[in-house]
C-alpha cells in the first residue's frame, strides 16, 4: 500500500480503503499500475502481493 508492506483482511479495494480510514477522503486508486475507478473498488478483489496506490490532490507545477 503506497509502497509499504501492509497486512490486511480486506478482500476488496473498497474494504481496504475503508479499513485504512480513507472512506471520507478525496482519493483516487490504482492496483498493480492500473487505475481503478471509485465505482469499481467494491468489485476489485485483492490478492497477496498486490500493489495498491491511494493518491490525493497535491501541489504541482
Amino acid at each position: 500500500m503506497n509502497g509499504e508492506l501492509t497486512e490486511t483482511r480486506a478482500k476488496t479495494l473498497a474494504e481496504l480503503c475503508a479499513a485504512l480510514g480513507y472512506s471520507e477522503l478525496k482519493i483516487a486508486t490504482a492496483r498493480n499500475g492500473d487505475f481503478v475507478p471509485a465505482a469499481r473498488r467494491a468489485e476489485t478483489l485483492l490478492a497477496e502481493q498486490d500493489r495498491v496506490e491511494i493518491v490525493a490532490p497535491r501541489q504541482g507545477g
Binding site: 486508486t29 487505475f35 493518491v55 501541489q59 507545477g61
Partner: protein, 261 residues
C-alpha cells in the same frame, strides 16, 4: 483572449501551485498573478496526515480552472494511469502530460510522450503535452490529437530563460494556429516577456514565482511582463538590423559640411 480546447481565458499566465513558503503565500500569489488556470498534481495520501484534503480546499477557494499534471512519470504507462486517477480526482479531462526522460534535465521523453498522448486523447482527455521545441515531436503530438503544445524554455526549475529562442521562434512559425505555451525554465519577468514577444500564447510558471523573496510581488511582476510582451507582439516588433540607423533626421544637421578631423 487565449483559447484552450474551446475555452477562453483573459490571463495568459498559467500558475504552478508548488514550492511556496506557505499555503497563504500561495493563495496571495495566485490572486496577484491573475491566473485563471492553476496546475496541480497528485501524490500518495496518508489517511492520518490528509495533506491532500487541505490543499484541495485551498485550491477550491481560488475559483480557478485546474490543470492536473503527471509530474514524475517515467513511462507512458505510468503517465496514463496517473492521468486517469487525476481525471477522477479533479473531475476534469484536462491533463498536463509529462513523461520524464532524465532526472538531471527533467527533459521530456518525446517517444513516451507521443505514445501516452495518443492513448489519452483516444480516452477523451484534453492533453497539454510538456514537450521540447522539436518540430517532428510537435507534428506527432498534433497528429495524436493534442490541440495545445507546451515546449520548455530550459530545464524545469533552472530559471535560465529561453535557452533556444531560435527553436521556439521556428516552432511558432511552423504552427501559427496552435496554442503554444512556454512551460518550464523561466526565471525572470523579462524571460516571460520575451516568450510573449515571440508570439507564444501563454506561459506556465512555478519556481520563478514561488522561490522569489516576495512571491506575491513577483506574481504581479510576471503578470505585467506577460501583458507587455503580448501587447508588443500584437503591435508588431520592428525588424532587427545589424547596423545602426539614426533616428534623428540627418538632413539639416548643423556643421554637417564642416568635416571632422
Amino acid at each position: 483572449m487565449v483559447e484552450f480546447y474551446g475555452e477562453r481565458f483573459t490571463s495568459r499566465l498559467i500558475l504552478g501551485s508548488a514550492l511556496y513558503p506557505s499555503p497563504e503565500i500561495f493563495k496571495r500569489s495566485a490572486e496577484a498573478s491573475g491566473a485563471e488556470i492553476v496546475t496541480v498534481s497528485l501524490r500518495r495520501e496518508g489517511a492520518r496526515e490528509r495533506a491532500g484534503q487541505q490543499f484541495w480546499s485551498l485550491v477550491q477557494s481560488l475559483n480557478v480552472r485546474v490543470l492536473p499534471n503527471t509530474a514524475g512519470c517515467r513511462t507512458a504507462r505510468e503517465a496514463i494511469a496517473t492521468a486517469m486517477m487525476a481525471r477522477e480526482l479533479f473531475e476534469t479531462p484536462w491533463i498536463k502530460l509529462e513523461v520524464i526522460a532524465n532526472d538531471d534535465t527533467l527533459q521530456p521523453d518525446l517517444f513516451g510522450l507521443v505514445e501516452a498522448a495518443a492513448s489519452l486523447t483516444g480516452e477523451g482527455f484534453k492533453v497539454f503535452p510538456y514537450t521540447t521545441e522539436d518540430l517532428s515531436a510537435a507534428d506527432r503530438l498534433l497528429g495524436a490529437g493534442c490541440e495545445v503544445l507546451m515546449p520548455w524554455a530550459s530545464p524545469i526549475g533552472s530559471g535560465q530563460g529561453l535557452s533556444n529562442s531560435g527553436g521556439l521562434k521556428t516552432l511558432r512559425a511552423y504552427f501559427p494556429g496552435v496554442p503554444l505555451v512556454v512551460d518550464a525554465g523561466l526565471g525572470a519577468p523579462s524571460h516571460a516577456a520575451e516568450a510573449m514577444e515571440l508570439g507564444y500564447d501563454a506561459v506556465l510558471l512555478n519556481t520563478a514565482i514561488a522561490k522569489a523573496s516576495d512571491p506575491q510581488q513577483m506574481a504581479a511582476a510576471f503578470a505585467k511582463a506577460i501583458e507587455a510582451g503580448r501587447m508588443g507582439f500584437e503591435a508588431g516588433l520592428m525588424p532587427r538590423r545589424d547596423m545602426a540607423v539614426p533616428s534623428t533626421p540627418v538632413a539639416g544637421t548643423p556643421f554637417f559640411d564642416f568635416g571632422h578631423a
